[in-house]
């Protein structure tokens, strides 16, 4: 930390000023003695929505918080970073349906034949959020994220019950995708950007990365509890992977 301001100090100093403005000029850098800056550990770079537009991010933050709300048991899906998790997933192989068979012809089929839409998950989100916001504006005069929790629940329930659906995308397909992705974001390893502070694991008593349970598995009805669940990044850091100063 000697020749570089920490990320925290940096933000305090320059606020939202673009980083380029405070970097040394090219001539200075060229004359400065070659010295590699210390590597930041994995996970210390700033996070940002990469697929969602601002209205979409606001929609998903509001929706996931209704599915898994903050209550007396602890924080809900919004604080767990679930909207960010979904954004990252939509920006990657899941969002592009990388492993999905995508050749036509496209037919609706029976429910037992499974997903038959030509839409990728990222397209489902984009279309359905726009449709749902349009519906909310018509019905309530506001977009989904500005509705009261009771109104938001009513909209989500209508999607879940397949009572609210759209010509461009079935509302139920969107709801089931959002529902599955919310669960994934709440309970997956924190390295994907959800389950922050292991909120999901702490809620249910899941220890994260396991240890050898041979000595515990036969102790019947004895709860095995850890002070702090362990994520994959925690273990990798402990063995010197992932960069950073050590």
């Amino acid at each position: 930390m000697s020749d570089a301001v920490s990320r925290k100090d940096f933000v305090a100093l320059v606020g939202t000023v673009a980083a380029a403005e405070v970097l040394p000029a090219a001539s200075e850098a060229a004359t400065a003695p070659a010295k590699a800056p210390p590597l930041k550990p994995l996970g210390s770079e700033p996070e940002a929505y990469k697929y969602f537009t601002a209205p979409e991010a606001a929609f998903v933050e509001a929706a996931v918080e209704r599915l898994i709300p903050t209550d007396e048991l602890g924080p809900g899906a919004k604080q767990a970073g679930v909207a960010y998790f979904i954004d990252q997933q939509l920006g990657g192989q899941f969002g592009l349906a990388a492993k999905m068979y995508r050749q036509g012809p496209w037919a609706q089929g029976a429910p037992t034949q499974g997903y038959q839409l030509p839409l990728t998950p990222r397209e489902v989100y984009r279309l359905a959020i726009a449709e749902t916001n349009a519906y909310c504006k018509k019905q309530y005069g506001k977009t989904f994220d500005k509705l009261s929790p009771v109104q938001q629940d009513a909209v989500l329930q209508a999607l879940d019950d397949a009572k609210l659906t759209y010509d461009s995308v079935p509302g139920k397909v969107f709801f089931e995708m959002l529902y599955a992705n919310t669960n994934q974001g709440f309970f997956s390893d924190p390295m994907y950007g959800g389950n922050r502070n292991k909120i999901g694991w702490k809620l249910i008593g899941h220890p994260g990365v396991p240890v050898a349970y041979n000595a515990y598995i036969g102790k019947h009805n004895v709860p095995y509890k850890v002070a702090e669940p362990v994520g994959i990044a925690d273990v990798e850091r402990s063995i010197g992977l992932g960069g950073g100063e050590s």
Binding site: G114, Y192, L203, A212
Partner: protein
């Protein structure tokens, strides 16, 4: 197109069956090339990495499974429907890469029961032919339990199966499965430790007069060196078993039981990223001469061989037979033809138990095959007099390790989301378990595999088409099994329980079981089966087909133990008889 140097045997796919064949043939001095469509992977470094404890990548996004963007199948429940592509995996999970589905399996390793292998003749004699009903095409296997016993034994000792014998040379053994066929010796390793779930289930079924026993498991319970000189590690009950590779090398797979030996044999060569498109026949159509495959750069290669073994996942073996025009395709309209006939599956019914207090299950701990089972309602272990269905199913309580994305059960009536759901999830994650059954599935005239007329894979070849639904035997057996499961749930003292019945129609969406059977069935009659009991095709005697595609119907057990035994029986016949005198073995 390049034609490569001829070898004694070429294997299409390199998982459990390919590994066994490769080992037996190279030990006999034969040259073997294995062609695997996927990548190479091994315990170290692939499965020792901490990133293996990633439920999202492995269990949800199917890191080790078949890539459906390249190849999949089409599906319909019945012939009047148009089959549509299985666009993503769901109901079953074929593997991809070295070791195949035998890397991400749970490890439950059964011997099908003597009665399972002679189902048609036994039930006809005991209960009358009418019990099968009109459209049931279930058949005897053409091999008996006694013929298979030495080969079951070989597979169990290869894989280091942990279990407790229930029948040693005809003597019933306490603590084991009293219904099993006689075995010559004990399992190579002691059974797995019973978890709180297992102990709760065992107590309940004992109170009801049933016979609990630990599931035979390929999660090795101690360091174990198998007869091939390969050492497996010890299971640590980490809870990341099914859909994952094993960190400690305790889960038996090609990698942990055979690879260190096979890979050292100078007669053996593995080529990964090699996708076989076709088995090529000579002008008579009675002899295979080579296989055509695409290599890692998409170049077409021709590999000549004296013998060709289809050792991919069963469905893919059937696909390749159809593409290569080996054997007459089955026609459900006439009942003639054999390839694709008698496709069957597994039928599941489960009861979820919820406890408000007094129990804590540590649901996240466990091993793939750590279950306590009862076999009292499986196969012909109970009297079918007056019943209008054959066979039945295994009932068990599993501690296979319940990871939180896929497993956070709530009692029926709980809202699907919101504060009440969250409360229930928090309470029940460690205070719930499931009594599950896997029941036999009979074969029917209308359930079959063929080539799809419309949809193609990324190689331009027609997709396999699956036409399948459950029949009367499955629904009636499931009704009986659900009743038993609920009796057990009450005896276990559950506060509440929820039963998920067998669905009215088979649905390809939710995960059920990677136990797809049939399509290249074995038998004694060339007009009714694809292979003889040596897994040799009747029509092209130098083509052998391994795997569960040989099962004429499915029993109420996981298939791998029986697949292993059939593979050893075949390898033995090839090495001892076929090589000296190539031609039909039966």
């Amino acid at each position: 197109m390049a034609t490569l140097k001829s070898v004694d045997a070429v294997l299409v796919g390199f998982g459990w069956t390919g590994g066994i064949i490769a080992n037996e043939l190279t030990k006999a001095g034969l040259s073997v090339v294995a062609l695997e469509r996927g990548e190479f992977r091994d315990t170290n470094p692939d499965f020792v990495a901490y990133s293996r404890y990633d439920e999202l990548a492995y269990a949800i996004q199917y890191k080790m499974m078949q890539d459906t963007s390249k190849e999949t199948l089409t599906f319909r429940n019945e012939r009047s429907q148009t089959a549509l592509p299985m666009r993503q995996l769901g109901s079953f999970l074929p593997g991809d890469g070295v070791g195949g589905a035998g890397v991400h399996w749970n490890g439950a390793t059964w011997r099908f029961l003597p009665a399972d292998l002679t189902i048609r003749s036994r039930y006809t004699q005991k209960y009358g032919a009418a019990i099968f009903g009109e459209n049931c095409t279930s058949a005897d296997w053409g091999v008996t339990y006694d013929e298979l016993e030495p080969y079951f034994d070989r597979f169990e000792y290869l894989a280091g199966i942990a279990g407790k014998a229930g029948n040693l040379r005809g003597q019933t053994q306490p603590g084991g499965n009293p219904f099993e066929g006689p075995r010559q010796r004990e399992y190579p390793n002691p059974p797995m430790i019973a978890s709180t779930i297992g102990a709760t289930f065992a107590q309940a079924v004992q109170n009801l007069g049933y016979n609990p026993f630990p599931q035979p498991s390929a999660n090795s319970t101690r360091r174990y060196t198998n007869p091939e000189g390969v050492t497996l590690g010890e299971c640590i009950y980490c809870g990341y078993c099914e859909r994952f590779g094993c960190e400690t090398g305790a889960k038996a797979s090609l990698q942990t039981t055979l690879w260190p030996k096979v890979s050292k044999n100078a007669n053996f060569e593995l080529r990964t990223h090699a996708k076989v498109l076709k088995v090529n026949l000579d002008s008579t159509g009675k002899k295979a001469v080579s296989v055509t495959y695409l290599d890692s750069l998409g170049r077409e290669q021709v590999q000549p061989a004296n013998m060709i073994f289809l050792t991919a996942y069963g469905l893919n073996n059937v696909h390749l037979l159809l593409l290569s025009k080996i054997g007459q395709p089955y026609d459900p309209a006439t009942g003639n033809g054999v390839v694709g006939k008698n496709y069957a599956y597994q039928a599941g019914t489960n009861t979820q138990l919820f406890f408000n207090s007094g129990k804590y299950f540590n649901a996240f701990m466990g091993a793939g095959s750590q279950s306590i089972c009862i076999d009292d309602f499986n196969s012909d272990n109970f009297d079918h007099s007056g019943k209008d269905f054959v066979a039945g199913g295994l009932i068990s309580a599993s501690s296979s390790g319940f990871r939180p994305i896929l497993y956070h059960p709530v009692p029926k009536g709980t809202p699907r989301w919101g504060a009440a759901w969250k409360k229930a999830v928090a309470h029940y994650y460690n205070r719930s378990f499931t009594i599950g059954s896997q029941a036999s599935v009979q074969s029917y005239r209308g359930n079959y595999l063929d080539l799809d007329p419309t949809y193609k894979d990324v190689y331009g070849q027609p997709l396999l088409r699956m036409t399948f639904d459950y029949g009367p035997h499955e629904h009636k057996a499931a009704e009986m099994i659900a009743g038993v499961q609920e009796r057990i749930a009450r005896a276990a003292g559950a506060t509440t329980f929820t039963t998920n019945q067998l669905s009215a129609h088979y649905n390809i969406v939710p995960y059920q079981s990677t136990h797809n059977t049939g399509g290249a069935i074995m038998g004694t009659d060339p007009a009714k089966s694809v292979v003889n009991k040596y897994m040799q095709t009747w029509d092209v005697p130098n083509v052998f087909v391994m795997g569960a595609c040989a099962f004429p119907q499915n029993a109420g057990y996981n298939p791998t133990g029986t697949i292993g035994a059939l593979t050893y029986l075949s390898a033995d016949a090839v090495v001892k008889r076929y090589v000296k005198n190539p031609g039909p073995l039966a």
